[in-house]
Point group: C2
Chain length 465, copies 2
């Protein structure tokens, strides 16, 4: 369903013919997400012309479905008629508006903010202050437009009041019961309200054991709590337990997708991108990928050093070189597996000390089994490779059986080392308060390559002595 | 917040003392998610004893928050008093119940199903039939308990009817308007209903352009549509546009987490696990990891063959060996990056032909820049390593400048080759209708290792000839 290629020509024609009714109708009929998909291909002037033709509600909806980079591009374009831009800005959900404004830190942005109402300027400043504390916290994804009621109301009165709140709240399906100074007392879902006796007081039917998060909590924590408790929206409180906002299910879905992308990029040794891969400039990509590639290249340079020292042994037994890529790959592969499994586990769950110990023991047992299997397979591969070779020993030449055993045993040990390293390093990073996902697969491989060479050297010198 | 370690001793004591009131209260007071966290550590007999002490609602809630493996363990335990197990099974959401029953394919499972009401047995069979079609489709995560109304009602009549439906529907916040034979006509949100004039007919206020998915659509597609349109629930229709179920926001959050785990595991060359890493048996893990390790080892065995042929050149210039791990790592790292970026992009977006071409061109330009930088750096590293060596040439010895150039140029070419391979292969897999995530980082590395050696060989023979 590519609305873009289907409808874009029509839109362009309507713009050229200044067909205001046609453009108005277009924004009315289509789902705002589809509308946005088409309009994003326009230039800023055409875009704002279409916006000025549509009514306020459709205009706002369509704009809210553009991605952030596009929103910023359009909003930062100077327009003669500032009113349309301001009306869109006014209509946005406060959390989205702040995300946008933090990308518009120029004169035009300040000019737009100054046109907002006093209350809205206040909300902007408040949300911006939460965001500045730390990036990616609950404050940066919450909205301040939640439905709330005082506790002394009856169910019937509550419904009457909610009818009035309904049009400008992000959701009315969770109603928060607040006492003085906005302190959170309880929560009622709209469904409970509907099922309740109209005469009953809210205080008698509200849930008192409400799950909350703090403004400063990491947004990944918010996501995992919403997932755990199956919530529609998560209340966000400040240090005095005052309700300052809510994070809704649709924002959490976006967070989960963004975090999954970020984690995948980290695993592949790419600094997480802010925008989509295709929307990121080549120079930014050179930086985001280059940083890690340089680090990894420098790490790999140490293997040159190891191999230089290894030279005497190697030149006596050139066949040791044949198996070099195989030996280090088997360590790197097992290390990648362990790191991936442990990093993902740490992302989803908090682990207690005893679980961590159990994990490392399991990892060790597992690596012995995997190492045993792969070591044996390597031994057989080596036997196969030398199958046609006559067993004639020249001076200093090792017997085929011994040669195959050297590589087999090395793979066995390297797999164990790789697996344990891969599992241990993310745990250590976590313990040190760093993101375990910084341990990317290539970084694990680089470390395991280095140690793998040392193991290979040790086994070879010991067995061939 | 480890409810488990805090409360478990109390629960065990209450069970021993047969303190039925205490246990009843425990299930009442705590959030069912926390309740489940504690109860999962009990054995099946104790668990069902606690369940028999609590009322039907808390019992059902707590059970629904156990993870699937635990639910299956408890439910498959033979209990004298079948009634408690049946009551829990009856109370479950139909989609969760089917997931559970598909794990209970034994006599005890069949016995439990036979105790359900005729209607519920029918729902089970219906949902099971969708699931059997294909795993991980919309049918496997949808629930059949949605709120629906005929279109001739007024807004006021609708609210009265919804009050009656409210207690057993998964959500009443989206109301589906159906005509004959359950064909989907439109959608009204509860909020719209509340804001509407009580006398207005549903047909005049409902949204007619409703986004739907098919029963057979992949659950990842459902997730991305819900994310795109910011929906609370996605209607699922069959091939005749009859509404057969809905997928709710909380199920989608679970899907997103599971899919992110699956993709992460695939990237790390682990066959996706069904349960959590810690809950999976060692033997299953040996299989899920071993399959890929064996495949990768066999792929690596081909490098042995390449190096054997490379031997003459190598033994003349032993220093070529020193840089072997560095050369193949630089290809593998760039390949991992490109594969990760492209795979994640393909997971999130459908790509058109012209975008694919643009992507490959960008990737190629990017790889020239990255390759140039890394090649230069490698050249400098080589110069540094040979810094102390006097430039005295013995017969057949290549000058230092030439040696450094060989490794630098190889890295330049290998990075380009790695980057293009890493980006191209997932695209090819996608084109062939396979999951692009099958191209794990280690598999890309294995391929790039092999081709990297060939490049190294070609460059070395050409320049040192």
């Amino acid at each position: 369903m590519y609305y873009n290629s289907l409808l874009l020509p029509d839109i362009l024609q309507m713009i050229q013919e200044k067909d205001e009714n046609g453009l108005h109708e277009f924004c009315e009929i289509f789902h705002p997400a589809n509308c946005a998909e088409v309009l994003q291909s326009l230039n800023a002037n055409d875009f704002w012309y279409v916006m000025s033709c549509s009514d306020k509600q459709s205009r706002m909806n369509a704009f809210s479905f553009l991605d952030l980079a596009k929103q910023a591009e359009f909003m930062s374009a100077d327009q003669e008629d500032l009113a349309v831009q301001v009306s869109v800005l006014e209509g946005m959900a406060p959390d989205d508006r702040v995300d946008l404004l933090s990308r518009l830190d120029n004169d035009h942005g300040r000019q737009l903010v100054s046109q907002l109402s006093e209350t809205e300027q206040h909300t902007v400043r408040e949300l911006l202050s939460y965001e500045e504390d730390r990036e990616n916290n609950a404050g940066s994804i919450m909205t301040t437009e939640f439905a709330w009621l005082p506790e002394h109301l009856t169910a019937e009165e509550a419904i009457v009041r909610l009818r009035k709140q309904a049009h400008d709240r992000e959701t009315i399906y969770y109603i928060f019961i607040l006492e003085e100074e906005h302190r959170l007392r309880g929560l009622i879902s709209f469904r409970e309200l509907l099922l309740a006796d109209p005469e009953v007081k809210l205080t008698d039917i509200m849930q008192r054991d409400v799950v909350t998060v703090r403004v400063s909590d990491d947004r990944e924590h918010v996501a995992s709590e919403i997932a755990k408790y199956d919530l529609l929206a998560m209340p966000v409180v400040d240090s005095q337990n005052r309700l300052v906002g809510i994070v809704t299910h649709d924002d959490i879905i976006d967070v989960l997708q963004e975090e999954a992308t970020e984690d995948a990029h980290r695993l592949g040794a790419v600094e997480p991108l802010e925008d989509s891969y295709l929307a990121t400039s080549i120079l930014t990509l050179v930086y985001k990928r280059g940083v890690w590639l340089i680090l990894l290249l420098v790490a790999a340079a140490f293997t040159v050093n190891v191999l230089q020292r290894f030279e005497d042994e190697m030149s006596k037994h050139v066949w040791l070189f044949w198996f070099l890529p195989l030996v280090i790959a088997s360590g790197g592969n097992t290390g990648s597996q362990s790191a991936t499994l442990v990093i993902r586990l740490l992302t989803l769950e908090d682990m207690r000390r005893q679980e961590t110990i159990r994990l490392m023991l399991r990892e060790f047992m597992l690596s012995i089994l995997l190492g045993g299997g792969l070591g044996l397979l390597t031994f057989l591969i080596a036997r196969f490779i030398w199958m046609d070779e006559p067993e004639v020993l020249t001076v200093g030449e090792a017997p085929l059986m011994l040669k195959s055993s050297v590589v087999g045993l090395t793979v066995f040990l390297v797999v164990i080392m790789g697996s344990v390293t891969g599992a241990l390093l993310p745990l250590v990073f976590k313990k040190l308060g760093m993101d375990p996902a910084l341990m990317s697969n290539p970084l694990i491989s680089a470390l395991v390559d280095f140690f793998g060479l040392l193991v290979y050297y040790a086994v070879a010198t010991a067995m061939l002595a």
